[in-house]
Amino acid sequence: MALIHADNITKNYRMGDQQVAALKGVTFDIGEGAFAAFVGPSGSGKSTLLNLIGCLDHPSSGTLQVAGVDVASLSRNAAATFRGEHLGFVFQDFNLVPVLSAYENIEYPLLMVRGWSEAKRREQVNKLIDAVGMTEQANKRPDQLSGGQKQRVAVARALVGQPKLVLADEPTANLDHDTAYKVLNLMKSMRDELGTSFIFSTHDPKIMNEAEQTFTLEDGRIAGGQS
């Protein structure tokens, strides 16, 4: 069964008086354990698509199933619950909570979203923080970490709740070349270890090559099929 099933989804925005069609009928399937990339120039609709898969927005029409759930019409609270239980997010600017330490940032979803017990949390957070190689920086606040370290913490935060899918919007855009590869390799090894699917958007050709499945978006449509 496909992890994500999208059938002819469209998304229209209203920008002032104008109706903007960000997605003009997109159809694709992504299986479990995927390492897939949406690529394309800015404005091609890849961020919009990622937002729809991430249940941060509703498609204007079409069918969108994530992990077997029809997410096209989830309510605000239900969408939040769904994201908390099934999805992880990695952002371009890392988006760690500045007042929380690396450990606490990773712990946050378990504590504030999932409500796990203390012992269970400690075990899981320690496992993840070790897996991303940040054990020694566990007590540091984000402003004491380098960009690569921050993104490692963010990857651990995305994975800590054992989601089926991690969505990463331009995860390497603010990292230098070597660090970007390291973060990508980390994500890939996490996929191998935990079976979590990773989907990211990028417009960096070098990063695209790391993806096992690439969807090229052009003007709101998937162009040239998938590779």
Partner: protein, 415 residues
């Protein structure tokens, strides 16, 4: 819950200076309110104490209609012996009554053999008066302060009159009075002491022995114009006055079978009761100022906090934080800010009040010296704390709601 508070506390400390300034504002508001309440309370207590303990007593009983014409001290509106007996029975039967004093009140001419003036006199039983208004003797500025208040043949002269007429303790004076039948009588008295005046009705009265007063008026029956009553506790005044009024109204009736006596509390008789009301009203307005200070300052800070952390809010929402939890994070931040400011204010207020009791502030109020001994009632302190925290919560409500309602995509895109 703990994490929410930790987040709130850490976020407050993220902008240390702004947080401290805002908390300081709340602190100052709380201090201003608590100190005003404490000082006004002390002033009220001192003034009420001086009025009740050295002059009026806690409540007074007169013949019906007497207080309406109290200024001209009517001799015809006296309580007859039978009524006095019933009043005494009622007072003795009530366990809340500590003491009472029967007074014969009269207006007289005061002469030092060179010039005349008028004087308002209370004829009293020294021991009973002492028990009913124990602070009266503290007003004696010249003469014997430790002996009986008055003795036969002696008069306590109010200070202003003594000064104006140039009489001193031991001088002979003549008191001339017209009695209820219109005949004039005069007697020679010795000045037994000088009495400092105080604010309010009766504050500039003289005192003689009740038997002297009756002789001067050639009163053949044991009539009384006024019974001043002291209670064991002034706090019981509303209950006791209602209770006594009912007993007196049912037992003492006139020919038309209507109540023949009237009972008034000190507050009915003294204009200071209105000053008390004014003070309470001022306290109310200062409370409103505090509410305004807390409301504006906390709301300002929380609106800023939400605006500065839009991307953070977007992140937390994206990774699955429920809107109500986002709201709780910001609400608790505002509540914590208000609580911290208010707690500091309470601590500071206690310190200032303690200092004011070590180095007291003295005010001259008319001819009186009022020394403030402010105290902070636990209930008042608690009330102010609750108010500050409640208003902080109220002020954070809108910003917190904004944070909770934010669209994660727009929030994440915010620069």
């Amino acid at each position: 819950m703990n994490t929410t508070l930790t987040l709130a506390a850490r976020n407050l400390m993220r902008y240390r200076r702004r947080t401290l300034l805002t908390a300081l504002l709340i602190t100052l508001g709380v201090v201003a309110l608590l100190l005003f309440v404490a000082a006004a309370g002390s002033f009220k207590q001192t003034m009420v104490g001086s009025i009740t303990d050295s002059m009026l007593g806690h409540l007074q009983v007169h013949r019906k209609g007497y207080t309406a014409s109290m200024d001209n001290l009517p001799l015809t509106m006296s309580l007859q012996p039978r009524a006095v007996g019933l009043i005494e029975d009622a007072l003795k039967a009530d366990p809340a009554v500590a003491a009472y004093s029967k007074r014969v009140k009269l207006g007289a001419m005061f002469s030092n053999f060179e010039q005349n003036s008028s004087i308002r006199l209370n004829g009293i039983d020294a021991a009973a008066e002492d028990a009913a208004v124990p602070a009266l003797r503290q007003r004696i500025s010249a003469g014997d302060k430790t002996g009986p208040l008055v003795e036969r043949g002696k008069v306590l002269v109010p200070a202003l009159l003594a000064k104006g007429m140039n009489v001193k303790v031991g001088d002979a004076v003549v008191l001339v009075a017209t009695n209820a039948q219109g005949s004039v009588n005069g007697q020679t008295f010795t000045v037994g002491g000088i009495l400092e005046g105080i604010t309010g009705p009766g504050g500039r009265d003289g005192y003689i022995d009740i038997q002297d007063a009756r002789e001067l008026l050639r009163m053949d029956k044991e009539e009384v114009m006024e019974v001043a009553v002291r209670l064991k506790s002034i706090d019981a005044l509303p209950d006791v006055s209602a209770r006594l009024r009912e007993v007196l109204d049912t037992t003492i009736r006139n020919k038309e079978d209507k109540p023949a006596t009237e009972l008034h509390t000190w507050a009915d008789l003294s204009p200071f009761a209105n000053i008390v009301k004014m003070i309470d009203m001022m306290t109310f307005f200062i409370r409103i100022m505090l509410v305004a200070i807390v409301l504006v300052s906390v709301m300002n800070v929380m609106l800023m906090a939400v605006y500065e952390r839009i991307r953070e809010i977007g992140t937390l929402a994206a990774i699955g934080t429920q809107p109500r939890k986002l709201m709780a994070i910001f609400l608790s931040e505002g509540l914590l800010l208000g609580l911290a400011g208010a707690l500091a204010g309470v601590a500071l207020s206690y310190a200032v009040v303690a200092a004011l009791n070590v180095w007291p502030v003295v005010f001259a109020f008319g001819r009186e010296q009022i020394t403030l001994h402010p105290t902070l009632a636990a209930a008042e302190v608690l009330g102010v704390l609750v108010l500050a925290v409640l208003v902080s919560g109220l002020a954070s409500l809108q910003p917190a709601w904004r944070a909770a309602r934010m669209n994660p995509i727009d929030a994440l895109r915010h620069v």
